[in-house]
Amino acid sequence: MDSPDTSTAHTDVLADAASSSGLTRRLLGAGLIGLAGSLVPGIASRAGASTPEQATTTTAPPRQPDASDIALLSFVQTAELAATRLYDLALAGDGIGEVTRSVITEVRAAHLAYGQSLAALIGRTFPGQPLQSLVDESSEAFSGDQASIVAAAVDLENVLVATHTDVVGQLNGINGARLLASILIAEARHALVFADLAGRTELDDLLVDDATALTPVEG
């Protein structure tokens, strides 16, 4: 049985398909064209799902702190580091009892942790220095006897709660507000514990924070 001579008919094909890689490319190309063609309707329908008239208009607050937030959070960090410095002064003395020392040790560690957390949020520009005016203002009280230290600690914690509350009301970014909220909740508890250690029993003395918030110095 004679078979047709295909050598002439397929000359061009043979020329193109002279190498196996060319053949592979063709086959892949055909598959990809099919893939692209079949995906077009799906992509088009998804694009249609977000047409302007169907989009929901939401204005989510930013998460990360912006430039003004960074300035506020930096100020807060200096206040936290000042608190750490003041509690260092209290612990350096020997006039405080064991229970008060335990509480101050924990509270000091907490303020250090707050400063470190704020530094992580602020980034490389974090101040890393205590608010010197606060340290200067309270150093004498924190270097005194137990009664003086505990009374000063009540005031300090209430001032920090007031300050952070004020700053939360100015921050644009959610992450800064969230961190400060978790800090000031704990500091409100600090204030109550120090008030209790100070022997205060009036509910207003224990529960009311009428301290004035610290404010960053302009410039």
Binding site: A17, G34, L35, G42, A177
Partner: protein, 277 residues
């Protein structure tokens, strides 16, 4: 020539179309899995029309209504235990003060809710009122019909309940900070949250005593059956949920344990909810 024939067989039109077609079919399958809207299951006959559920939007108004609802649930609980004489006389003034603070918080929240154009919620939280409060009161007061004995120490349980609810309120406001849309509302939330934290810490001192109630210096080898209330429970404010253990011991020595979490989708007071108080 034999080599040429082999190539021809490989490149044959059928092979070409077959492979291209396989690619097309595979891609079509992938595309079909890509989330296009399904027409649903075909059905025969007629079906009654359905009423679509209302949109459950969580916005500032819903969050404030939810916070106010929790305040009112706590107020209701303080009223109940004060009226029942379950608060020791040494703490009656404190409990009344806390209740009055919660009234102030609820009214402040109502004002903010109105400013936002939402309707203030003047009832307790529906889910807490339906599930949590009855369970707590049953564990403390007992339910003879259900075979639940009254607590062996109702005062202890009432104080622990108040402590946990104050802590829940604290966590609620802290958790809402990241959800509220404006700095002013966040400030209002943390202001109230700090008040609740002080309530919680003062109750911890009343429950656990001094100095053990200040903070935990060493973790116990075995966790206590009833969680120890602490004035300084953690270094940061937490959102980890709370466990309330109350009531009489059962036949195997266990008390009722209730897990309480910060509000979520099943606890929010949505705009479409109707008050029932």
């Amino acid at each position: 020539m034999d080599t040429d024939r082999q190539n021809l067989d490989l490149v044959g039109r059928r092979s070409f179309l077959r492979l291209g077609g396989a690619g097309l079919a595979g891609a079509a399958l992938l595309s079909a899995c890509g989330g296009t809207e399904s027409p649903g299951i075909a059905r025969v006959g007629t079906a009654p029309s359905t009423t679509a559920l209302p949109d459950a939007v969580v916005n500032d108004g819903v969050l404030l209504r939810t916070a106010a609802s929790i305040e009112r649930s706590v107020i209701g609980l303080y009223d109940t235990v004060l009226d029942a004489g379950l608060i020791p006389s040494s703490l009656t003034a404190t409990a009344e003060r806390f209740r009055d603070d919660h009234i102030g918080h609820a009214e402040a929240l109502d004002g903010l809710t109105t400013e936002l154009g939402s309707e203030p919620w003047l009832c307790g939280n529906p889910r807490i009122e339906e599930l949590l409060i009855p369970a707590i009161l049953t564990a403390i007061l007992g339910d003879e019909a259900a075979g639940i004995a009254a607590s062996d120490d109702p005062t202890r349980d009432v104080l622990n309940t108040a402590h946990v609810l104050e802590s829940l309120a604290t966590e609620t406001y802290q958790s809402f900070v990241q959800m509220l849309s404006t700095p002013d509302l966040r400030r209002a939330a943390v202001t109230i949250g700090a008040d609740e934290a002080r309530h919680s810490s003062l109750l911890a001192l009343a429950i656990t005593g001094r100095p053990a109630g200040y903070l935990q210096l060493e973790a116990p080898a075995t966790p206590p059956a009833i969680p120890v209330a602490l004035a300084l429970p953690s270094r940061f404010g937490t959102l980890g949920g709370l466990t309330l253990v109350i009531g009489a011991e059962d036949e195997v020595g266990l008390r009722r344990s209730i897990s309480i979490d910060t509000p979520s989708y099943n606890t929010y007071v949505y705009d479409f909810l109707e008050p029932s108080c």
